[in-house]
């Protein structure tokens, strides 16, 4: 196909921007200088002991790391399989893995002398995590959010405002996450000299996908140590939900070279793949270019980006991180899709089985474990990245299930 041929042989100079053929820096010229500056700052920071020790100290004292690896015995009972472990990213400050990245990038922004931060957010989790980091470092913070999401996630909007951020509703295009991302990029193009863009997932132009992955790789490193300590062996499988794919890349990354560890990403099948209303870019998308990177993308016959759908706003994105596209094409990771109904059911199951209300995004991965626990544990323990807690979703689930508005 043309698109694969097009990217078949990236020049050597460009290889560091890519994962296989995916990724790259497909952005307006205005942003090139900012990406060069960011890349340079990050390359220095990642080997600077002072930066790393400040980052680690904040993860420990502010975020609450390391997060526990919890054995889910009742989940094992009902599935008749085990061992199954939950990596408790839901216990991080602000309730999800997202803050690992926002702390790291806010430190970088300070290092680059940028006083203004912008971010995009879907459900509001990344926006809250960004606003939190900006409060901590006394940085100006503007968060772009689709007008529809502003309505649906009023509580997170208020949370961001409490933290001192300005939330700007975006009503162009489909008024959702992809349009909020477009608007954040437009802001960045305009204010690039004073502003750093804290992107919320392993997406966007290089160096973002690699950098965001590295900030989240602490999840996988801890998991590796913890499972070796309690089980004396590596996991047989690691399972995580995938929207843009940051929590999945964070836990996958330290296991990518361990061929015996099965890596499984769970996308949102929405109302069903066959209905066309889903967010399963890796399962049924085609390679395309959105937000600065070549990756699997939901698009129509004319190359227009197709609207994504999922009951969970955090998975509601038509693209996916380019490294996932690479792991998919090389067969190193496999990607499956779980629909809204199965995710909602898993949301209830985990709440009642383990006393943990998971984020709706995470509930997709739980649904897959509920269905496939035997296979997932056949070669060793299964670890699920419990990427976030579900407090933010309680009102939404009540509405979806006809319990009216609780807020």
């Amino acid at each position: 196909m043309t698109e694969t041929a097009a990217a078949a042989a990236p020049p050597a100079a460009d290889a560091r921007y890519r994962f296989g053929t995916f990724g790259g820096r497909y952005v307006p010229e205005t942003l090139i200088a900012a990406l060069d500056q960011l890349e340079e700052a990050y390359e220095e920071a990642r080997t600077d002991p002072a930066f790393l020790s400040e980052f680690d100290a904040l993860l420990r004292d502010f975020v609450g790391r390391p997060t526990p690896l919890f054995r889910a015995r009742r989940l094992e009972e009902v599935t008749g399989a085990g061992p199954i472990y939950l990596k408790r990213e839901d216990l991080n400050h602000t309730g999800a893995h997202k803050i690992n990245n926002t702390i790291g990038q806010a430190l970088l922004a300070r290092r680059m002398g940028k006083q203004r931060i912008i971010a995009e957010t879907g459900a509001g989790q990344h926006g809250v995590a960004t606003a939190t980091a900006c409060a901590l470092f006394d940085l100006e913070c503007v968060v772009y959010m689709g007008a529809e999401d502003v309505e649906r996630q009023a509580l997170n909007v208020f949370r961001m405002e409490l933290l001192g951020a300005e939330v700007r509703p975006v009503s162009s295009g489909t008024s959702t996450l992809k349009d909020a991302t477009n608007e954040a990029i437009r802001d960045w193009v305009t204010n690039v000299e004073s502003t750093h863009y804290i992107i919320g997932s392993v997406v966007g132009p290089a160096p973002f996908p690699r950098m965001v992955r590295d900030f989240h790789a602490v999840i996988g490193r801890e998991t590796r140590e913890q499972i070796l300590e309690v089980e004396g062996r590596l996991p047989g499988s690691v399972v995580a939900c995938v929207g843009g794919g940051s929590n999945a890349m964070g836990i996958f990354h330290p296991f990518v070279d361990d061929a015996e560890v099965r890596l499984v990403g769970v996308e949102a099948a929405g109302e069903g793949i066959e209905t066309g209303r889903h967010s399963a870019s890796l399962s049924v998308g085609e390679p395309g270019i959105l937000h600065g990177a070549l990756s699997y993308l939901l698009q129509d016959d004319d190359g227009q980006v197709a609207p994504a759908h999922s009951v969970s706003a955090g998975l509601d994105y038509p693209g996916v991180g380019p490294e996932h596209s690479h792991l998919r094409d090389t067969g190193r990771a496999c990607y499956v899709a779980v629909d809204d109904a199965a995710a909602l059911s898993a949301f209830h199951r985990l709440s009642q089985l383990e006393g943990i209300i998971p984020a709706l995004e995470t509930a997709h991965a739980i649904a897959y474990i509920l269905a496939e626990a035997r296979a997932l544990t056949s070669a060793g323990p299964c670890v699920l990245n419990l990427s976030g807690r579900g407090d933010k979703d309680v009102a939404h689930v009540a509405r979806v299930e006809g319990r009216g508005s609780l807020l």
């Binding site: 043309t2 010229e29 993308l297």
Partner: protein
């Protein structure tokens, strides 16, 4: 001098170099309107292209709409979304180009984002666009060095690749950007997205002058030019003046006729004939 004349048979297009040379010979700058294919309808966008050629536009930028125009401001976004809603496609834009080329020799630059043409197959798109009568292509999200394979496809397919420079572009990067650049250099007059502005930056003249030391191609300036007076000022320092959002505004207010009248005003402003057109 008039840029083109309608003919009854398919017209051999002029080159971009000819278009600039013809203006330069008269001490004038080229007028380069941006027109979104399919806005407000396919026929109307063709009519605006024709009106532009009649009003003294030297080069037409024909925009192929994309669902996620992240380098564009609200005005061109609005035109883009309306064009897509009205059913415009990549193929539809090529049809408009073909119809324009059957009557006018004004050079055409296709202006778009990568994904629609990548999905179509960039090599195929470039070939079909060249056959339909395009001279060049500008891909907003394909900066120099981003993808040598795609760049090669453009050149091998027979279109010139228009490059952009921004005020933020490092001086050391300019030679790499200009390597393989064709047609003209598009200088972005300010950081930011497209959109009409009331004031131009004072540094613009100095920046364009500095660029001439390193850039052999004609230099066109765009982003934010919205009045005949601004067009006149830019024409005084650059070889070409790109007008996009302001034209969309006039098309929305006054239809094809209003758009044509606006372009005539711009032309007159640039040629120092006052703002009356």
């Amino acid at each position: 001098m008039p840029s083109s004349n309608p003919n009854s048979s398919p017209t051999a297009p002029r080159t971009l170099a000819d278009a600039f040379a013809a203006r330069r010979a008269h001490g004038q700058a080229a007028l380069i309107p941006y027109i979104c294919a399919g806005f407000p309808t396919a026929d109307d966008s063709l009519a605006v292209m024709e009106a532009a050629a009649e009003a003294g536009a030297d080069i037409v930028e024909l925009g192929v709409p994309f669902s996620d125009p992240l380098a564009d401001g609200p005005t061109i976004q609005r035109a883009t979304f309306k064009a897509l809603e009205a059913g415009m496609t990549v193929r539809g834009a090529l049809d408009i180009l073909r119809r324009f080329r059957s009557r006018y020799d004004t050079p055409v630059v296709l202006f778009t984002y990568l994904n629609p043409v990548h999905h179509f197959g960039l090599d195929r798109f470039v070939r079909e666009a060249a056959e339909a009568g395009a001279q060049a292509i500008l891909l907003t999200d394909l900066p120099a060095g981003a993808d040598a394979g795609l760049e090669a496809m453009v050149r091998e397919g027979g279109l010139e690749l228009i490059r952009l420079l921004a005020p933020t572009t490092a001086r050391t990067r300019i030679p790499a950007v200009m390597e393989g650049a064709g047609g003209f250099l598009y200088y972005i007059s300010r950081t930011g997205v497209t959109g009409a502005r009331t004031a131009l930056r004072e540094e613009l003249a100095r920046e364009v002058e500095a660029l001439r030391e390193e850039v052999a191609l004609p230099i066109a300036v765009g982003f934010g030019i919205s009045t005949p007076e601004q067009a006149r000022l830019v024409a005084g320092v650059a070889d070409g003046v790109v007008v996009g959002s302001a034209l969309v505004d006039r098309l929305e207010e006054g239809g094809v006729e209003g758009a044509g009248a606006f372009l005539a005003e711009l032309r007159a402003g640039m040629d120092g004939k006052g703002e009356g057109g």
